[in-house]
């Protein structure tokens, strides 16, 4: 128990929105750019997310080293602006794992919702 605790670094635990974003990026693989990320999250969770709301977390994730990004080629469909593609880094995947683990621990022994 004690050793596990050390493994979980609080700084690596993600907030829910960060987790969703990161998961969406991972799921999308090569095709993760804001629009697809946005679509993915909306599709998976059915939430009414605003597009503008994902840029700050994305930037923050990138600053923390959980994501990297690169610019794609300009396309006519977007008024000549290029897409910014995101990729999860090793640290990002680690953070996801830690977050999940922390969450599972918190759920441990709580039975009432298991059936769902």
């Amino acid at each position: 128990m004690h050793t596990d605790c050390l493994e979980i670094n609080m700084k690596r635990i993600l907030t829910r929105s960060e987790e969703f974003l990161l998961l969406a990026v991972v799921r999308l693989g090569d095709l993760a750019y804001p629009v697809s990320i946005f679509d993915e999250i909306v599709k998976a969770t059915g939430s009414s997310l605003t597009l503008g709301a994902i840029y700050f977390p994305l930037q923050r994730l990138e600053e923390r080293g959980f994501l990297t990004s690169y610019l794609g080629d300009p396309t006519t469909d977007r008024s000549g602006k290029s897409k910014r593609y995101y990729l999860a880094t090793k640290e990002g995947l680690q953070a996801l794992a830690i977050t999940r683990k922390a969450q599972e621990r918190m759920w441990e022994g709580i039975e009432c919702f298991k059936k769902n």
Binding site: Y33, T50, L51, G52, A53, D77
Partner: protein, 859 residues
Amino acid sequence: MGRWILYKILPIQLKHTAYGDFEEIYRRILRESGEREAKTWYWKHIFLSAIPFFCANIHWRFIMIKEYLKLTLRHIRHRKGTAFVNIVGLAVGFACCILVFYFIRDELSFDRFHTHIDSIYEVKSKVTYNGGSEVYKETEGPVAPTLAADFVEVEAATRLAKVDLIVKAGENIFRQKGIGVDPSFFDVFSFPLAQGNSSSALSEPLSVVLSAKSARLLFGTSDPLGRIISIKIADETSDCRVTGITKDIPANSSLKYDLLLPILLVKGLEINQWNTGLDAASFIRLRKDTDPNALEAKFQSTIDKQLDKGASKGSHYLFPFADYHKGARTYSFSSILEPRSSPSHSIILAGIAFLVLIVAGLNFLNLSIAVAAAKRIKEIGIRKLLGAGKKQLFHQFRFEGIVMSLAALVVGFLIAQIVLPVFNQFAGKAVRLDLLGPGFPVLALIFFAVFLGALAGSYPGWFLLRVRPVDLFKGKFLLGRKKSFNRVFLLFQFGISIFLVITAGFLFRQHRHLLRADLGYRPERVVVLDIEQLTSQFQKSSQFLPVLKANLLQYPEIKSVSGSYSGMSSWSAMIAKTEGEQSPVIVRFNGVDHDFIETLDIEMVEGRWFSAEYPSDKTDGVIVNEAFVNKFNIKKPTERILSEFIKFRGPGKIIGVIRDFHFDSLLQPIQPAMLNLEGERFKRVFIRLEGDNPGRAIDIIKKEFSVAAPDYPFLFSFLDDEVASQYDGERRWSLMVTVVCIFAILIACAGVFALAMIAATRRTKEIGVRKVLGASIVRIVGLLTGEFMWIAGVAVVLTWPAAFLTMHKILADYPYRTPLSFWVFVAGGMVVLVPILATVGLQAVRAAIRNPVESLRYE
């Protein structure tokens, strides 16, 4: 638009891609569901994205503001002295402005409480002669009712006649100011009734309406409605029923009364007849959107038809009631309205407050800049080195300025609140500082404070931040060009202070001039008795005055006693004509008795005074003044006959000429005047005292008065007090300006003190080096004060012409004025410069006598 918002709110690196993203989804929706949906989506998302952005922004701002506030408070604590000077100086400026604002608002709000204020007019009659025309205060009695009956444009009309009453309610007897009115009074004016019914209150012949104040006086706390009071007008007593109580009359009302009563009670039935003289003031309320000029033209013939030829037949004119207090020149007098304050006073006051605010504002700017430049360089340097952004430092400075000036605004309110009672007394007002009252510029003042603060903060912030931190540490830039700003500010500050002092000086001298001027008679040690209240029975039978006179003259304390028809400064006016000349002239008139000339000590120029030896004096003897002689251009006055001097008396003969004397106040030139011998109708008694014990003399007079006229109030005053009280306005103004001047000088001194201190500290090293090299203390003091001297000199030279022109204009209103002596200008300059230079000099001496070892060690 959307794009601009996006660019504003999104993280910088992501802007372009984000724009692309929005565009992509927009187009997708456009393809799938049409333009409207797409646009809705677009705007919805931009809007929703903006909210968290703003929240975050405000959050961060707030944190910074907290930080700024902390630094500001620390800065104020750290430099208590300059911060105090700064805040208090500005606060005084704000306080002046706040008070003046209330004063002016009160002036402008005069009479505005009447619902129909803009359609109320006073009717006045105007008589035109060859020599000019004269507007009379009053009209023939039936004018108002006729207008109301004959013209649909006139909604309501009422006559008003002022009357002094003695009111008896139970055991209480009071002297009250009454106004005789028509029942329609309440249709014209809006004095809401606290009790009673305004439509029926005055309809019965013996009914009165009390003001709330009068009701409290007469009945205390008991219910006055329906009570009977006995009212004594002249020699008649009537019992009247109280049918209404009006609410307290607002302080800013030109119409004031204790009682309203039916005008018939005051004037008798004569009031309803034509050609009985100008009996009452007439006020009418016109229907909305009536053109008063058109109506004026229409009603002339209706009125003239009723008037006898040659009587006061003339024109009748409408004067808008709303203009009365605003100061319309033509509408300057009224028989029933309260005297108004001169409108130029408001302007002067506003100008002074504005000047003080400028002085305080400049002081504030100057000090903030100087403090920043001299004392905070290191702070700025270090903060720059530690990585503070330019913008942050700038915000910090600006924020400090704003906090200081807002603090000053709050302190200013407190000062205004404290000074308010004194101010009210000075200005003769009942102003209250209601923060949220109508038209209050709380917002404007706050904006101004913020603006001034931001300006004061921005300037040092702006120029200090441009400098490299290294230079800041070396203090290099300070010797550069930026001081010219300070100099100009100082120049203005000095100039305005000098200007104010010179103004105060001349106002003060003018007031003294009025008080000390040779009046042509001696008002000292003259007691005036007001016997208007005595019944006419007493006056007519000529019993009262001779008895009083004979009794009083037995005492050595009484030198002479004289009766007079009018008091000083309230002589009536009438038309006089000399024989053989066509143009009549309006002259002032008084009826006096034989002892008038001795009691007031007036000089004869020609001819003789009234004498008991010539019985004809009583019927046709007339004494005129020099102004009269000049006006008619009479060569040998004692031989001239006045053909038509008084309507009811026929021709008169000039028997003597007296030296011009000021029966009116010195605010008017001496007008042609005429005296005749009055036998019985006296309203005033003048008594000249002998010896140095006026208290005893008053006791004697009081005793004898109660013997001659038992049961009447003994009302007396001293003539010189009465004369002096004519110039109360002048006294108030000179006092007010003086007080403001003291404030302005104090502000200037405090500011200059701080500046000099800063200059001295800045040059500590220089002074040390100079002293080591052998400079004398005098030289160093000269060095430190030289700049201030120079600026002060320029300020004096620049201010003099402006002050001269202003004073010339202000004094031009006075027919008898103090000369624009040069020495007052010099003294004005000195009064400002001496304390300023003294402060600077003190500071300089302190810096100069320091041991150079200390000052050189300071680094």
